[in-house]
Symmetry: C2
Subunit: 525 residues, 2 copies
Amino acid sequence: MFEALETGKNLTAEEFKDYREDLRPALLEAQFALAKRDYPVLIVMGGFDGAGKGAVVHRLNEWMDARLIETHALWMHSDEEESRPYYWRFWQRLPPRGRIGIMLGTWYQRATYRAMAGLLDDAGFELAMRRAVDFEQTLVADGALVIKLWLHVSRDMQRLQLSQEAPRQQQNPRVPGDPEAWWSTRGEPQHRGADPVSNLPADPEEWWRRYPQALEVSERLLRLTDSGEAPWHLVEANDRYYRDATAATLILNAMNGHEPGGTASTHPVKFLPEPGGQPTVLDHVDLSRHVPRDEYKLRLAVLQDRVQDLFWQAHRERRSLVAVFEGWDAAGKGSALRRLTAAVDPRLYKLVQFAAPTDEERAHHYLWRFWRQLQRDGRATLFDRSWYGRVLVERVEALVPESTWRRAYSEINDFEAQLVEHGCIVAKFWLHISKDEQLKRFKDREAKPHKQYKISKEDWRNRKKWDDYSLAVEDMVANTSTGKAPWHLVAGNDKKSARLEILELLCEHFEQCLGDRTRRLRDRA
Amino acid sequence: MFEALETGKNLTAEEFKDYREDLRPALLEAQFALAKRDYPVLIVMGGFDGAGKGAVVHRLNEWMDARLIETHALWMHSDEEESRPYYWRFWQRLPPRGRIGIMLGTWYQRATYRAMAGLLDDAGFELAMRRAVDFEQTLVADGALVIKLWLHVSRDMQRLQLSQEAPRQQQNPRVPGDPEAWWSTRGEPQHRGADPVSNLPADPEEWWRRYPQALEVSERLLRLTDSGEAPWHLVEANDRYYRDATAATLILNAMNGHEPGGTASTHPVKFLPEPGGQPTVLDHVDLSRHVPRDEYKLRLAVLQDRVQDLFWQAHRERRSLVAVFEGWDAAGKGSALRRLTAAVDPRLYKLVQFAAPTDEERAHHYLWRFWRQLQRDGRATLFDRSWYGRVLVERVEALVPESTWRRAYSEINDFEAQLVEHGCIVAKFWLHISKDEQLKRFKDREAKPHKQYKISKEDWRNRKKWDDYSLAVEDMVANTSTGKAPWHLVAGNDKKSARLEILELLCEHFEQCLGDRTRRLRDRA
């Protein structure tokens, strides 16, 4: 998920000032409108330490009427809290109707730190997350608007931020107790009801070491708690201007678009302040790769051998591959897929292609047509286009309302998590080309008679929406690329290079997963 | 929960015939209307073996157009299913839009049997249940109407039913494999992905022995999976006429009241076919109890001593009592509470009385005012009226829409489960008197000047709604009386007897819970 949150989005001081001009009065207006409504707004600030959650809250208090905002920082634990059920502390702090409450430190916190410290297993963590969602749904059912922001900083930026804060922190240690005990227990006398709660490390280097671990837990947190009623908004937070403007815009849009009663707003809410020319995750794909013909032939043969062996190994281990192929029109998906299938015994896979749904498919939930294609253990299912249609074409063409495609992220993550849990190997490929390269190929298709069947008016129509699709791809990667079911963005301007890259990535992913399994079996024996 | 489902509700053959006259055409009409709508109806049949789930499905197929109903009995497990993620089998069987699908055997089944067999711990069971709710919510978000019926039979009735079925079963054993292995594993070669799934016992005596265990797991199942989007409807199933008529009426009402889109219907849906004079759980309270004055004094003194000791013991063990007192107007709640508080050191409890909410309380979620009153570990909170107002007065007086009070059952169960999990001891008392006794007391209050402040027009108004309140109490007990947070129905016609009974029940509940804890501590040491 986080690769899409390290693209280098930023604003200049000038741009930020322009935004501020618009945002301040709009936020104040929304706040005064809220004062007359009969529901509260709960802003949940998520993200790592050093991501600037506190700074954003400062900014919000500066821009809005601070008398109508309650900010709760739950990083100190009182005896009174420990003596009551865990959620008591949060119930105490709920804002009344007509007001905004900001939560710095939330119902996610305890389980997250415990999971990072290895004190909570996967099932326990999932349970805590599902209970958190339940709590939010209870509030939403009562009319509350819950706005969840997740601020993401890169590893380096976190180190930088924390090292600037460190001197202050050491003078005022956040949590008393044994400094060695951070992320484990409070070092205080344990009594019933008191769960181990983290001490936070004062040392930025310790955070640096734990960063990958924190990423993994955070990814699961986001996947499990992104609900239709209270979705997460992911914010790239390396640049503070971009971070603050984005956070404020998201809050503004959510407040303006909210209809009390729990279901998603019918107003179209713009997702991000997309100042023209912000970099996206696709801009980080290196399209200059090129493979000469001779090298290509050689490497292709080797890779095809390797992939065939891996398909057989997966079959023996009764593991099932689920591979998804998406990409721009004319990106070369079909020819890349042929290089893959050419290598594999037809008994070991099924290739399914998706266009518009059939009548029968239309009569079911949109995931039904994909579930039914799943092959059994030991056989692969290759999806030429897939369930991602909902957040790509159906989003861009407005075939479904925004609430529907937005909800799909969590439905898709849940679907893929079930596959992974069952033992499937899930790999997803987005075949990327530049806009110019697409034009070249379109023209080539029109020019050559034997390629004309490949090009239609629809392709030209889609091309006009290139920017919308780019944004949809960005959001898709941000919301659905997970450690166990990652998106691979493949450079497609050079067709040969793309084919090799897909095979290579597939082999690596295969080997990692099959290896995983082997390791686990070995550990058990 | 189940005490309210063994009250002896029944229909005569004649009454049933009358119902059938109404139900058949109405069901057919609803079915044909559905055929033109763009959502499916999923009927989930829950309950023990021998509760008559199959018989109800037969009846539905007989009364409706069977060509438009798909019935899926998921008690045989195929190799194809085991080779795919668990929910694949359910996705395969989802009815298309415009159709009815009936599920005999559901996504609850595997975890339930595993929990009964001791193969799944509490957290694992809760997780499986929350995932089941997630699955249902995914369908509901797509427009599906999910109707969940839970058929309950008493222990004796189950034995009777199963012993009639047993000869057939033994000829056609349901699941091949080791008959000893039921409720544990299938006895088939285990491979990855294949989870132990129950064999069902052919021997009714085995079910008889396991009945209490099954009750306990079922209660947790119902508590965890009763959601606003897909609530459970509990059906007393000892009498087959009552069972079939009730099940069919519930389905009819749900279908007629459904608005696609997931939120509850705005049409008022009648809950049950309440043929005048069906017994309720309150009819089983023995109001003839009477305690003579001398015996009362003696026993009261003993009980007050005992209760004081127990409050101190709880304090030492840092356990917190949460006791709820509800009852009819003039049932003697106040005087019973005084007998309790007279016995206890004031430092050990807080008594909170609830009338109409304050402005500040009204500005929050309705549970907020109760959460904030919770005393810390080792101190008791006595609630004179409570969160049950939502499903009693607010329901009967229509102060909130039906969807709101119906959702409250699960919110309340969740709240109390959090209390229990934290270590609180939760006891709930309903003080019951007869309608005649209430009249006598009202008149007495009006007659005696020093009691006139106790009676108001509102009391007389409430009294007119006696039947509505009775039904609300019945539903409340059915939906919220759990093993760890039970409802105690106290006979109040004789005030002295009622006071003693409350103290006695409280002491017993206390001792059981503190004993529990003592045992646990002992076991650990």
